[in-house]
């Protein structure tokens, strides 16, 4: 069992909100992702059981959405928006800066498994560019100083 009782209860709660069970798939995937940090077949099977839909329907939906990592990632998933508004204010140089600071390339995870660095499309934060999302949180109006501070805080937290 991967999903804990809290996640399961929250998924069950969602099911009751929709005229059809299947609608709870995406919220269930989100709940699972927030707990586990990524999604995989085991998770799909557990969700399918709770929602009472065939496993393949859960897998089919999950694989459409790139928001959910399908492989394990570091404890902190750093997602830098590289779309136009952010790029105009230096998103590419932000990615380079993070690569340097973390000593990894985009797409990689640090050796201590703490950070994974990826780029993503527009996150709806274009007027506070450049920005990044780390796990569930947004970090906006980024500067080098801010990035240093954020990474330091996360390192201390471990």
């Amino acid at each position: 069992m991967i999903l804990n009782d809290n996640s399961k209860a929250r998924i069950r709660e969602r099911v009751g909100l929709y005229p059809r069970h299947k609608s709870a798939i995406l919220p269930a995937l989100t709940i699972a992702y927030h707990q586990v940090g990524h999604l995989n077949d085991e998770v799909y099977k557990e969700i399918a059981k709770i929602i009472k839909v065939p496993y393949v329907e859960v897998a089919e939906a999950a694989t459409f959405y790139t928001m959910f990592p399908k492989e394990p990632v570091g404890k902190y998933l750093i997602q830098v928006c590289h779309n136009i508004s952010c790029a105009l204010l230096g998103a590419d140089s932000l990615v380079e800066y993070l690569e340097q600071k973390l000593d990894i390339k985009k797409g990689e995870t640090t050796k201590d498994n703490l950070f994974t660095l990826v780029t993503v499309e527009c996150l709806g934060s274009c007027a506070t560019a450049p920005m990044m999302q780390i796990n569930q949180d947004y970090y906006e109006n980024l500067t080098r100083e801010k990035v240093d501070r954020i990474l330091e805080e996360l390192r201390v937290k471990g």
Binding site: L17, Y18, P19, R20, H21, K22, S23, A24, I25, L26, P27, L29, T30, V53, E57, E60, A61, F64, Y65, T66, M67, F68, H82, N83, I84, S85, A87, L88, L89, G90, A91, D92, S93, L94, Y97, E121, C122, L123, G124, S125, C126, A127, T128, A129, P130, Q133, Q136, D137, Y138, E140, N141, L142, T143, R144
Partner: protein
């Protein structure tokens, strides 16, 4: 103080007699239902439910001229009137909060800072079309918006604005906050329906239109967050009042998300018909261009809309004027870039996005966006070949108007516009294997 530090013009809006969407968005208490009510909140919902007939509400919205703020600008009241009167099926209202058109970041502010306004607008729309269970589909990354909306919905139930027998009217209304999968295509209303049903978020062939066969094959209305947040104001003050804002054909106010090379990016509520140059340069809004450089181009309505060049900035931000200028109001996301920006680089950013977000259902869009990205990438990397510009135009021509949903057109229109406006620069990039102007934007 706020989750997102985004700049707004709430102070100016509070001074204005007419602007209304942003009046309280700098008040950290506004998210609380008591404060929302003190500020006149839920009066319109009560008025609509207890003293108006659904047909009267639809007429009032029609008369107000309120048009959809999600991109297409379709008149909201008219859309609601397409719901079949005699269908025995349940009807659904869905608030589209997938907000992912690059440049657009306005719906998030409304959800995070004035969530009850969104609920109130949704409730009125739901009653107008006879819906008893309404949904808000929020893109999955907006965790804070989702939490805020969920907390607000809970409060609204506790205070009797939602639930069974609202205000003793005998009308039941439930609301579900749905977290989506963060895909741009799920903002397209038919893909949104599939996604909400738990399917892959792929567009549906129309007809049937959602008003006839939408969610679970039932009559459904999909409206944008900002459209719905405007509704309570129309009901409170009347269509005639609403029409005193904006222009004759584009009444009302609109939030513009201003981003890119301006000194003060932010979300600004202004009357439709506001001057673009003023939005960019006035110290109350954009405050001019960083480094006092010259504007090279502007995308006026989100990444899917054709460019305006520097000589076209004296334009009114309304549906008709922007159409006349060869572009579109779209979602109201104004992206500004200055003279040091390579146009090929801009387009590469955009086509990479559209290729990534194509749902893959139809060949011209799925394959075409892939080819376009390849060709444009090689030009950008200094490996362009003679004839590449013509090749791009040819591929674009084979996508435009030949796809199931408008994403295909959205991918193509900025490219065609970039070639039309800056053809020499494309050619320079191919001939000289480098940018005409060096793009290298550092973050601070």
């Amino acid at each position: 103080m706020f989750y997102s530090p985004v700049r707004t013009n709430a102070a100016e809006v509070a001074q204005s007699e007419k602007l209304h969407l942003f009046r309280f968005v700098e008040d950290p208490e506004q998210v609380k239902i008591d404060i929302y009510e003190t500020h006149g909140g839920y009066k319109a919902w009560k008025k609509a439910l207890t003293s108006m007939k659904p047909a009267e509400i639809i007429d009032e919205i029609k008369k107000s001229g309120l048009r959809g703020r999600g991109g297409a600008g379709f008149p909201a009241g008219m859309k609601w009137s397409f719901i079949p009167k005699d269908s025995p099926k349940p009807r659904y209202l869905i608030c589209n909060a997938d907000e992912s058109e690059p440049g657009t970041c306005k719906d998030r502010v409304l959800m995070e800072r004035d969530p009850h306004a969104v609920i109130e607008g949704m409730a009125i729309a739901a009653f107008a079309i006879g819906c008893h269970r309404m949904f808000i589909y929020i893109r999955g990354e907006f965790n804070h918006s989702i939490d805020r909306m969920q907390a607000a919905v809970k409060e609204a139930y506790e205070k009797g604005h939602l639930g069974k027998n609202v205000y003793g009217s005998g009308y039941d209304l439930d609301m579900v906050v749905h977290s989506g999968g963060g895909a741009y295509i799920c903002g397209e209303e038919t893909a949104l329906l599939n996604s909400l049903e738990g399917e892959r978020g792929m567009s549906r062939i129309r007809p049937p239109f959602p008003a006839i066969e939408g969610l679970y094959a039932c009559p459904t209305i999909v409206n944008n967050v900002e459209t719905l947040a405007s509704v309570p104001h129309v009901i409170n003050h009347g269509a005639d009042w609403y029409k005193t804002l904006g222009t004759e054909k584009s009444p009302g106010s609109k939030i513009f998300s201003l981003s890119g090379h301006v000194k003060q990016p932010g979300n600004y509520e202004v009357e439709l018909g506001f001057n673009l140059k003023k939005l960019i340069y006035d110290p109350a809004y954009g405050g001019g261009i960083r480094g006092d450089k010259k504007v090279k181009g502007v995308i006026p309505g989100g990444s899917s809309t054709p460019f305006l060049t520097a000589d076209m900035l004296d334009v009114s931000l309304d549906y008709e004027s922007l159409a006349e200028a060869g572009s579109m109001l779209g979602s109201g996301a104004v992206i500004v870039f200055h003279e040091d920006t390579c146009i090929v680089w801009v387009i590469l950013k955009l086509i990479h996005f559209y290729r990534h977000e194509s749902c893959g259902k139809c060949t011209p869009c799925r394959e075409g966006t892939g080819w376009l990205e390849q060709i444009i990438r090689r030009i950008e990397q200094g490996k362009g070949k003679p004839g590449d510009v013509e090749l791009i135009e040819d591929v674009c021509g084979n996508i435009l108007g030949r796809t199931i949903c408008p994403l295909g057109d959205a991918a193509v229109m900025p490219i065609q516009s970039a070639i039309k406006n800056w053809r020499d620069e494309w050619q320079y990039h191919i001939d000289n294997k480098k940018c005409l102007v060096k793009t290298g934007f550092e973050f601070k």
